[in-house]
């Protein structure tokens, strides 16, 4: 085997890519991770860090089960990472809220959850609608505009930037080769191996795992797969470090273990990660102050925008190629929530050379054709 020949090439050095690479390395494989450069689009530097269950699965019921599987595996996953690297990614699962600032928002929330539950094949898990008083007992600092919310005890969060660093450290210590500034231009398959032609040279590997986020749309057809994407931009506002005041993450607002408060969850049709719409930040800030008035005087230290990795229907895509045996796609929006699954479930499947249909069959991109035919 040539020096730059590997068992598996993981395309993408974001959270999905490094979680998969770590899992592959645990299976004893020789792995290379091909990444882009420092200023390229990186969703993993711009996520909200929730390990989130509530309301997942509306439109594709099996996604709820897949999400709960990862949520349940997360504790063990973070322990393994801590053993290997000494770094604590601060996974916590105290249960999380979606807060409503008007009766209409609360009604919409209840209606969404009802539709979610009534789906055929939906896994049963508890999400409660709570009135203002019940919310206040758990979140004493809410403002007068909060009329209620929904709560799910499976929801949690993590320090996602530390997770990103920890996974990079872990793959580094395991001997995985990490090659930044190796944007993959084309992929060919000759002599039973894949050749990945990158800006930094050609890399050869027996298998390929495409974990390149929105770029999977461009790469997947090169190995007989498809990965339809519709990227969107999200913006986040971050405050200075504050003393702990919030014991539960809210889907649009959480306090990190470091003390900063992250505020966000906007959606804009834009693929320009350098742009920032101040009015969107202002809306986020305004809602945050209405939810927790004590935040009004907190200093905003940073804002950022990032491009969400979003498949066309918002659900993950896991596929293996029929025409190019050994090629896989691992693609999803929720790279933090699903990190445990990618590391502990999907990576071993790729190592074995076969996706376990009992787990991931609903997430094949073939679903897009079924819908078109229907």
């Amino acid at each position: 085997m040539a020096a730059d020949s590997y068992d598996v090439a993981v395309v993408g050095g974001g959270l999905v890519g490094v979680a998969t690479a770590w899992g592959l390395s645990r299976e004893g494989l020789k792995v290379v991770v091909l990444d882009e450069g420092d200023r390229d689009v990186r969703a993993s530097r711009g996520n909200f860090a929730l390990v989130w269950v509530q309301s997942k699965g509306l439109g594709l019921a099996p996604y709820a089960g897949w999400t709960i599987r990862s949520s349940n595996a997360w504790g063990g996953f973070s322990d393994l990472l801590k053993q290997e690297t000494g770094l604590d990614v601060c996974f916590q699962r105290p249960g999380g809220f979606t807060l409503a600032l008007s009766e209409k928002e609360l009604e919409n929330r209840a209606a969404t959850l009802k539709r979610l539950r009534e789906q055929p094949g939906m896994v049963d898990y508890k999400i409660e609608i709570m009135d203002r008083e019940r919310v206040r007992q758990m979140l004493p600092d809410i403002g007068p505009d909060v009329v209620g919310g929904s709560f799910c005890e499976l929801d949690g969060h993590v320090n996602s930037l530390r997770l990103f660093r920890t996974l990079h450290k872990a793959i580094n210590e395991r001997g995985v080769t990490y090659l930044p500034s190796h944007k993959v231009e084309t992929i060919t398959r000759e002599g039973g191996e894949f050749q990945l032609h990158t800006q930094g040279g050609t890399i050869t590997a027996g298998k390929v795992a495409l974990a390149a986020g929105n770029a999977n749309m461009r790469l997947a057809p090169m190995v007989g797969l498809e990965c339809p994407m519709r990227p969107e931009r999200g913006q986040i506002v971050v405050t200075e470090r504050l003393r702990p005041f919030l014991n539960h993450p809210v889907v649009t607002l959480r306090q990190t273990d470091e003390g900063t408060v992250m505020i966000g969850d906007s959606k804009e049709d834009s693929t320009d990660p350098s742009g920032l719409t101040l009015g969107v930040s202002a809306t986020e800030a305004s809602r945050a102050v209405r939810m927790f008035p004590l935040l009004k005087s907190a200093n905003v230290v940073r804002t950022w925008s990032a491009i969400r990795v979003m498949t066309q229907d918002g659900f993950p895509i896991y596929d293996q190629s029929e025409t190019h045996p050994g090629a896989f796609t691992v693609c999803c929006h929720s790279g933090v929530t699903l990190a445990a699954n990618h590391a502990l479930s999907v990576a071993p499947m790729i190592a074995r050379g076969k996706l376990d249909t009992s787990l991931v069959a609903p997430f094949s991109a073939r679903r897009f054709h079924v819908q078109e035919a229907g």
């Binding site: 928002e105 506002v237 202002a282 305004s286 005087s297 200093n299 230290v301 804002t303």
Partner: protein, 464 residues
């Protein structure tokens, strides 16, 4: 003036009230351009003429005639009709020339037809062991206290580093009756070799005679010790300064190794920057009128590359003349040629000074437990280790280690982080690049952010 009294739009917004900003605002306003100047400090003058309009230092000899030259500039700006707003922090500027400004805790957005960024310079990071200890301060900080509040160091004061400002401050402290235990000169002897070829220009520049006299004045009274390294030692405050085996008990250590452009606002506005290897910093890419890569935005003063206060004023005038010509083609305005000639003369000695006072690598690229990012307390060793792990640039580094994520927004660590990565990767700082910066470039409160105008589309991007 409070934020609600501001107009919703100005012909020209000048950001920064140092020499460049004052000269720009005066030039433009006199030509009939509706001009507002925002400055963050309680009074105009910037850092070089800090406190110029309300100075408590009665004895003019202490600060020197160069300082008092700032009075004329401040008076000129005041008389010009420009609206000058102090205590006004500009925290956002974008390609549409929309400006976000906060005054006394109230935020406002307004638009400009042209913008001149005159945010000047800040002192180059001086990341040595113990530089975060109370009792360690920048030389510029001590100079500000002298200029604006008439405070002189007492107790045992040690200065370390190099550069014109260090010698000037030493002279000012001595003239004010202060005492300096020692100056630890960190210049490399080798710098002379590189500087020598620029000596002829320097001999003709206004800096030559002034500089020489200053050195003589200081060296007559203070021990100057050449050193290769410096460390501040103490537990919760400075106890002693250690350098090349010298142990000097000290209450105050003043650090300085030159100044670099204050780039945060310009970078956040999308202005292209490039590495200047002689000045070891990022500086904006500008044309002869100091216009940047973003149409309508100029960068004048030391923010355009370090050249000193007198040059800054000329740059401000040149940028303002270009703005006037663009906004009011019929206005009577001086030909920029005069300002260009004066600027050229001011810039003559700069290359010599840059080379002579080029800070040594050891004091720019620390190692081990020395803190690089003061806000988040990230060490040089962590940055080096992470770079060796494959982290290619400052943005990934920020995500991994939080360096640059604190309230100073990378101002204290940005150059260090870039240079450390470049050194570990064996590449250039230009290749490594700088932090991606976004508004607010100075912290504003969540309440201020919430008070900004919101369009229906922007609201719908969040409320679902």
């Amino acid at each position: 003036m409070n934020a609600s009294e501001l107009a919703s739009s100005y012909d020209l917004v000048v950001i920064g009230g140092g020499p460049a900003g004052l000269a720009a605002a005066a030039t433009a306003a006199r030509a009939g351009v509706a001009t507002v100047l925002f400055d963050e400090n309680p009074g105009v003058g910037g850092q070089i003429y800090r406190g110029i309009t309300a100075n408590p230092v009665r004895n003019r000899a202490i600060l020197g005639e160069e300082y008092w030259a700032g009075s004329a500039l401040a008076a000129e700006a005041k008389a010009s009709g420009a609206s000058i707003v102090n205590g006004a922090t500009v925290w956002s500027l974008d390609r549409t020339l929309t400006v976000g400004v906060s005054i006394a805790g109230q935020a406002r957005m307004l638009t400009a037809k042209r913008v001149i960024i005159a945010t000047g310079s800040l002192e180059r990071p001086f990341p040595i062991p113990g530089w975060t200890l109370p009792g360690v301060m920048t030389a510029g900080g001590a100079q500000t206290l002298l200029k604006a509040q008439g405070l002189v160091p007492t107790g045992r004061t040690v200065m370390a580093g190099n550069g014109p400002l260090l010698w000037l401050l030493a002279a000012q402290i001595l003239r004010a009756g202060g005492r300096i235990e020692a100056i630890l000169d960190t210049s490399s002897r080798l710098n002379w070799l590189r500087a020598a070829m620029f000596l002829p220009d320097f001999l003709l520049s206004p800096y030559f005679k002034k500089g020489l006299a200053l050195l003589r004045e200081v060296k007559a009274k203070v021990d100057v010790i050449p050193v290769g390294n410096v460390a501040a030692v103490g537990t919760d405050k400075l106890k002693e300064v250690v350098a090349d085996g010298h142990h000097i008990p000290a209450d105050l250590l003043l650090l300085h190794q030159g100044v670099v452009p204050n780039v945060n606002l310009a970078i956040a506005a999308g202005v292209a920057h490039r590495w200047n290897d002689r000045q070891l910093c990022f500086a904006p890419v500008l044309d002869a009128d100091f216009q940047s890569s973003v149409p309508g935005i100029a960068v004048a003063g030391d923010g355009a590359g370090i050249a000193g206060g007198t040059a800054a004023a000329e740059r401000g005038r040149i940028a303002a003349i270009a703005a006037v010509r663009a906004l009011k083609p019929d206005a009577k305005i001086a030909d920029p040629q005069t300002a260009r000639q004066r600027l050229q003369r001011e810039e003559m000695g700069r290359a010599f000074l840059d080379e002579l006072y080029r800070p040594v690598a050891a004091l720019r690229q620390p190692e081990g437990d020395t803190i690089a990012c003061r806000c988040e307390e990230v060490t040089a060793g962590q940055i080096r280790e992470t770079a060796r792990m494959g982290c290619e640039g400052p943005n990934q580094m920020k995500a991994f280690l939080r360096c640059g994520m604190g309230p100073c927004q990378g101002r204290m660590c940005g150059l260090t982080v870039t240079e450390l990565i470049a050194e570990e990767r064996g590449t250039t700082p230009d290749e490594v690049g700088y932090y991606r910066l976004r508004p607010p470039v100075k912290p504003i409160t969540l309440g201020e952010l919430a008070s900004l105008p919101i369009s229906e589309a922007e609201r719908k991007a969040v409320e679902r």
